[in-house]
């Protein structure tokens, strides 16, 4: 698939926002300062909102986006379109309550957590439900959207805490971020390993229904390309993809882990924000890879120009 930048940004930003919110709720339970929580909550709203804004760029008709709620019974995209604003609204309410110092309800926090999880579920299912996109059609896709989002939110929260209270005070959250980053790395590596082992189910033979041993396309029927050649091919070399993969693994997992560990040992300011920033960039590369590695069976029909 051709990675769509709007969708990459959307999933990375929103995922981070969701992860951040989960950490805020945990901190709330541990008795953190409501005002600090409120600021964090608004940051989460901002991330989610920015994600939402990005997602509009993916649409041919953004002005009609409201129509997308119609098919919640069948479409994960529709469900996501419903859950995302709800999540934003609940997180915003939760933040507002903390800001106003009003007695807050655990119900709102719970609702927020459920919505964040639901949002990951929806986002993941948008991809995982496409059964012939075999790189995506797997529970690991769900797990990764959730874990990577949560991980990046946790690192961000640790950084936030270190800015507020000094690096030493953030040790607990550093540990949490490290655990989540390790989990995220494990899950993502598992999906990469799975992708490597995947053998395409569709072949040129099944695509046109000819049984011969060698079946090759000579012409896709057009010489200048089409929507099908633009949307479903990343058009990059294998080396480029391999580079992106290395960048993703280093920036999303390895480097943040090193920085987190370092911050735990030497509570130097700046290490944690650096870890969060690296992870953000790494996740953009990771998401690019997520799309690029997905091999659409339609591509069999668009191989050759002559």
């Amino acid at each position: 698939m051709r990675p769509a930048f709007s969708v990459i940004l959307f999933t990375v930003l929103a995922g981070m926002g969701q992860g951040l919110f989960l950490m805020l709720v945990r901190a709330d339970a541990l008795g953190a300062d409501p005002h600090e929580l409120a600021v964090g909550g608004f940051a989460s709203v901002a991330l989610l909102g920015a994600g939402l804004a990005c997602s509009f760029f993916h649409l041919g008709h953004p002005m009609r986006a409201w129509r997308a709620i119609a098919m919640w019974r069948t479409s994960w995209l529709s469900r996501e379109v419903i859950v995302l604003p709800l999540t934003i609204a609940v997180v915003a309410l939760w933040s507002l309550e903390h800001l106003l110092g009003k007695p807050h309800t655990a119900a709102l926090a719970a609702a927020g957590v459920v919505l964040c999880l639901a949002l990951w579920w929806c986002t993941g299912m948008i991809y995982a439900c496409l059964r012939f996109l075999r790189e995506w059609a797997h529970p690991l896709t769900l797990l990764n959207f959730a874990l990577l989002g949560w991980m990046s939110g946790a690192t961000l929260f640790a950084a936030y805490w270190s800015v507020l209270h000094g690096a030493a005070a953030a040790r607990l959250w550093v540990v949490a971020a490290m655990v989540l980053t390790c989990a995220g790395a494990a899950a993502r590596l598992a999906s990469l390993a799975r992708n490597r082992a995947l053998r395409p189910k569709s072949t040129p033979q099944s695509a046109i229904g000819v049984a011969a041993a060698r079946v090759r396309q000579i012409s896709q029927g057009t010489t200048g390309g089409s929507f099908n050649t633009r949307e479903f091919f990343h058009g990059r070399s294998a080396a480029f993809v391999a580079n992106v993969k290395s960048i993703a693994l280093v920036l999303a997992f390895a480097l943040p882990l090193v920085l987190l560990a370092a911050a735990w040992v030497w509570p130097v300011p700046g290490l944690l924000p650096a870890a969060a920033a690296a992870q953000f960039v790494g996740l953009i590369a990771e998401r690019w890879l997520f799309f690029a590695q997905a091999n659409h069976p339609q591509n069999i029909y668009y191989q050759a120009v002559a």
Binding site: G60, M125, R131, Q217
Partner: protein, 218 residues
């Protein structure tokens, strides 16, 4: 998730006879001209006179080769939306712009409702949908729904434009649920098959294989 598809009483479809298709592309441009000024149009062309021209077409004719010289076969392979009986492109559409008609199984896009999210195209294993880059709505073969029921047309004209154009009559049109229809008979008698059966989309359009007549023995 997706519910098992309903089985409709009527399912219109094209059956394409690869035994006689010569790859002339008549079905490609007759489709384009019919649809561009019709209910599905206009179908835009980008770089119409420049490098890498590319436009919206509902139907493409590809060329494939099977086997090796001198036993090589050249296969012309027309492809448009297959109007799947279990169309993965429909349930994923968030707006309901993509839908399958209960009356006849035609899969359509409601252009006024489409937000151009391309999700349905992702969900089609056959690459049969094309986003119109000028209108930013998803388009695809309509099975000429605006022709085939038009009572202003003579009965013999109530057929898809591509079917009427095809010089070799390689494109048969009809109800694959009616066992007596021309298409059902062709599928039965000529071993009609579906594309990428592994995805169980149950394409309504089917293909008739090459048939090689050997020299008579002497």
């Amino acid at each position: 998730m997706t519910q098992p598809a309903e089985t409709l009483a009527k399912q219109l479809a094209l059956v394409i006879d690869l035994n006689v298709c010569v790859g002339c592309h008549a079905c490609v441009t007759s489709c384009k001209q019919w649809n561009t000024s019709g209910s599905a149009g206009p179908l835009a062309d980008l770089n119409a006179y420049g490098a890498e021209p590319s436009g919206t077409f509902f139907n493409r004719v590809q060329t494939w080769e099977a086997g090796a010289y001198p036993a090589a076969e050249t296969i012309h392979f027309p492809k448009s939306c297959l109007h799947c009986e279990d169309p993965p492109c429909v349930p994923v559409c968030p707006t309901g712009a993509s839908y399958k008609r209960k009356e006849d199984g035609i899969v359509l896009v409601d252009y006024d409702r489409c937000i151009g999210c391309k999700y349905c195209a992702w969900a089609c294993p056959y690459g049969a949908r094309e986003l119109d880059e000028a209108r930013q709505v998803m388009t695809k073969c309509t099975l000429c729904v605006d022709r085939i029921y038009d009572e202003k047309l003579a009965p013999e004209d109530r057929k898809p434009a591509c079917v009427k154009a095809c010089p070799t009559n390689a494109r048969l049109f009809g109800d694959v649920k009616d066992p007596e229809s021309e298409v059902s008979k062709a599928i039965r008698e000529r071993g009609g098959y579906a594309l990428m059966p592994e995805w169980e989309t149950r394409p309504a359009n089917q293909y008739l294989p090459r048939l090689v007549r050997q020299a008579q023995e002497f």
